[in-house]
């Protein structure tokens, strides 16, 4: 278990460093902005007739610091707030803490991303096995080509094409928001149906986005495992075909855990574009809107959370990997 703990600790360590770097980056970014937004806010409060003390306190609540203190103190105060899980107060969602705004948006990113991940995993891995076994046939070649092509196409191109085909041209699927706004949210048939139909396009885009990665990785993995000596050796020992298939499957799945982390990163990164196109109120949309609205605390928070999600995905992938591979475990 020692090796595993070490590896996980390294992952966790680099993850924490990454989160710290991103947080520091956003802090200095806000400082570097033309016309420090904190100062601007402060000035605005003053012109509204607020006492300097109150104004300063309000700015501190929003940004986690005010520019009236030395830079280092501002930074530590900001970090201290961050450690307590306080990301400041959103400006565009007047007065609402950033954490709450993000908490409302997070499910609408996680739900389609994870659904898309499961769908693409099932389809991509199956297609990858077929592409590997039939690699010398025309169909196998076309399957591989579909994988490379889809893996290469930018996310928004996929999203726009899907939206165009299924919404504009054939008018099968709705898009915009998470459900029909006229419906009462809750556990009722029409609302759930509406949520599902609104999610189809984003989920399909996420799924397509990572389908190619799964396919290509699974294909090359199966091909290399099929060529492994222990498969032939087990055949020569008279091991049953079913058991051999299990040997192949378990060995071929292993390298895919690196794809898992990559895929999730890709999807979270792509959420900005995809959610913008489908007007889906998730994290990515939040990030983009916060920039449009100059809501810098919200921007920093959304960016930080996307980073955290990716770091967690990496650690998860590492954990899963080590559960399967004894060479890492011991």
């Amino acid at each position: 278990m020692k090796g595993l703990t070490r590896r996980l600790l390294v992952r966790l360590g680099t993850g924490l460093v990454m989160v710290w770097v991103v947080a520091t980056f956003t802090f200095f970014l806000v400082h570097a902005l033309p016309g420090n937004p904190g100062d601007a806010q402060y000035e605005q409060y003053l012109t509204q007739g607020m006492a300097p003390e109150t104004a300063r306190a309000k700015v501190a609540v929003i940004y986690g610091f005010t520019s009236h203190e030395p830079l280092l103190q501002q930074y530590t105060s900001y970090m201290w707030q961050l450690l307590q899980g306080n990301l400041g107060v959103s400006i565009s969602y007047t007065g609402e803490p950033v954490v709450q705004v993000i908490r409302a948006a997070l499910p609408w990113t996680l739900f389609p991303v994870l659904t898309g991940l499961v769908v693409s995993f099932l389809v991509g891995v199956t297609a990858g096995v077929v592409a590997a076994v039939r690699r010398s046939s025309r169909w196998g070649g076309l399957l591989s080509l579909s994988g490379s092509l889809v893996a290469g196409v930018p996310s928004f191109v996929l999203a726009l094409l899907l939206a165009f085909l299924f919404h504009t041209l054939w008018q099968i699927l709705p898009f915009g928001d998470t459900s029909d706004v006229t419906l009462e949210p809750g556990f009722n048939g029409p609302y759930i149906a509406s949520v599902i139909s609104h999610a189809v396009l984003p989920v399909a885009t996420y799924a397509l986005l990572s389908y190619g990665g799964w396919l290509l990785a699974m294909k090359s993995s199966v091909v290399s495992v099929l060529g492994d000596d222990f498969i032939l050796a087990s055949e020569l020992r008279g091991i049953t075909p079913l058991t051999r298939m299990r040997y192949i499957a378990r060995n071929a799945i292993l390298p895919l855990f690196t794809v898992l982390a990559l895929s999730l990163g890709f999807m979270f990164g792509g959420s900005v574009l995809i959610e913008d196109i489908f007007d889906y109120p998730g994290l990515g949309n939040l990030l983009l809107k916060s920039i449009g609205a100059r809501d810098y605390p919200l921007m920093g928070g959304a960016f930080l959370l996307i980073t955290v999600a990716i770091v967690l995905a990496n650690i998860l992938a590492e954990l899963l990997y080590s559960v399967i591979d004894p060479r890492v475990r011991r």
Binding site: D229, L232, S234, G238, T240, T243, P326
Partner: protein
């Protein structure tokens, strides 16, 4: 009764654990189907160790794999038979029947550098998979037998069964391969390059173990190797392959002392370098042929042969008995092959 030659041939066949007759294995390539093994005839007499020697691409591994009827995809056994004592013609088996023969009647051990174990499972778990595949009722007995075999080979049986492949050294993997090949009491053991990729000490140890197990279990063993040293160390009989043909065979000591085919002579000559006898050592000129470069007519060795004559380009020499228990496929006079090789 008058045909005494026929009679002795039949008697010889009866004493052979494995007899290969007219075996041809074809591989599909860009240039059509080409033979990797052509018209091979060979017996593995019961209780002997036979060494099968040749350069890479000579078809020796293909021949070994066809004993298991396990020629990989673009290849196939196109003609011939492989009779195994108590099993019948292996080339006619398929599906479940073939699967049951593999591992139970015929044990196959891979090259040591190749990883013949599933890296994600312990040896013990793979042993149980093996037992299940062959409907072994007494799993305890199977484990006990495996442990005994491992102990006999100088390993800690209990520990080995609890290990993953990456926890075993090359020599140990090789021995585990032998354990798995013999645990179901196979009568025939086939070793593909058993010493390649092992250091000198492990080589000696593995050969010692093979010899010991062979004797104790009363096996019939085929050792496929490119290393003349291995053969001289361990084999009772020796067969030499070149370009998919068996070019010479006979008792190992006799073939090594008096090779009757120029290729055998060249192989032995090339090995002499290791012993330091550089005067007589001769590297073989040219490169070993592969499927596509083997001459299609005449003798396959003629392009590298110091004795090549006109007839070699026209007629392929047959593998014929030229002295008691000695066969060779060469047009040249047996006396000349001996003389020329030495002088050159």
């Amino acid at each position: 009764m008058t045909d005494t030659v026929q009679l002795t041939a039949e008697r010889a066949e009866a004493a052979a654990e494995v007899s290969v007759r007219d075996l041809t294995v074809l591989y599909r390539t860009d240039q059509g189907e080409l033979p990797a093994v052509a018209h091979a005839d060979i017996d593995l007499p019961t209780g002997t160790i036979t060494g099968l020697v040749g350069e890479s691409g000579s078809g020796k591994s293909t021949l070994a794999l066809s004993l298991m009827n396990a020629i990989p995809a673009p290849g196939r056994i196109s003609s011939g038979s492989i009779q195994v004592n108590g099993v019948g013609d292996v080339t006619r088996l398929e599906g479940r029947a073939l699967r049951r023969v593999r591992g139970r009647a015929l044990g196959y051990v891979f090259q040591a550098s190749q990883n013949s174990l599933n890296p994600l499972k312990t040896v013990g778990k793979q042993l149980l998979d093996l037992g299940r595949a062959h409907d072994v009722q007494d799993m305890r007995g199977l484990v006990r037998r495996a442990r005994e075999l491992a102990d006999e080979m100088g390993m800690d049986g209990a520990r080995v069964l609890d290990s993953y492949q990456h926890e075993l050294s090359g020599g140990m993997r090789q021995r585990v391969g032998i354990v798995l090949a013999l645990v179901l009491n196979a009568r025939v053991l086939i070793l593909d390059e058993p010493t390649t990729a092992l250091d000198m000490l492990s080589q000696a140890a593995v050969l010692e173990i093979v010899r010991k197990v062979h004797r104790q279990e009363g096996l019939t063993t085929l050792v496929v190797t490119h290393d003349m040293g291995v053969v001289s160390e361990i084999a009772d009989r020796l067969a030499v392959m070149y370009g998919g043909r068996i070019v010479e065979d006979g008792p190992a000591t006799e073939v090594l002392q008096r090779p009757a085919h120029p290729y055998t002579r060249a192989l032995i000559g090339a090995t002499a370098r290791i012993t330091g006898d550089t005067d007589t050592a001769r590297a073989l000129p040219g490169r070993p042929p592969d499927l596509t470069t083997v001459p299609r007519t005449g003798c396959v060795f003629r392009e590298r042969c110091p004795l090549a004559m006109d007839v070699c380009a026209e007629t392929e020499p047959q593998l014929l008995t030229w002295a008691p228990d000695r066969r060779r496929a060469c047009h040249a006079d047996p006396a000349t092959t001996a003389a020329t090789g030495e002088g050159a």
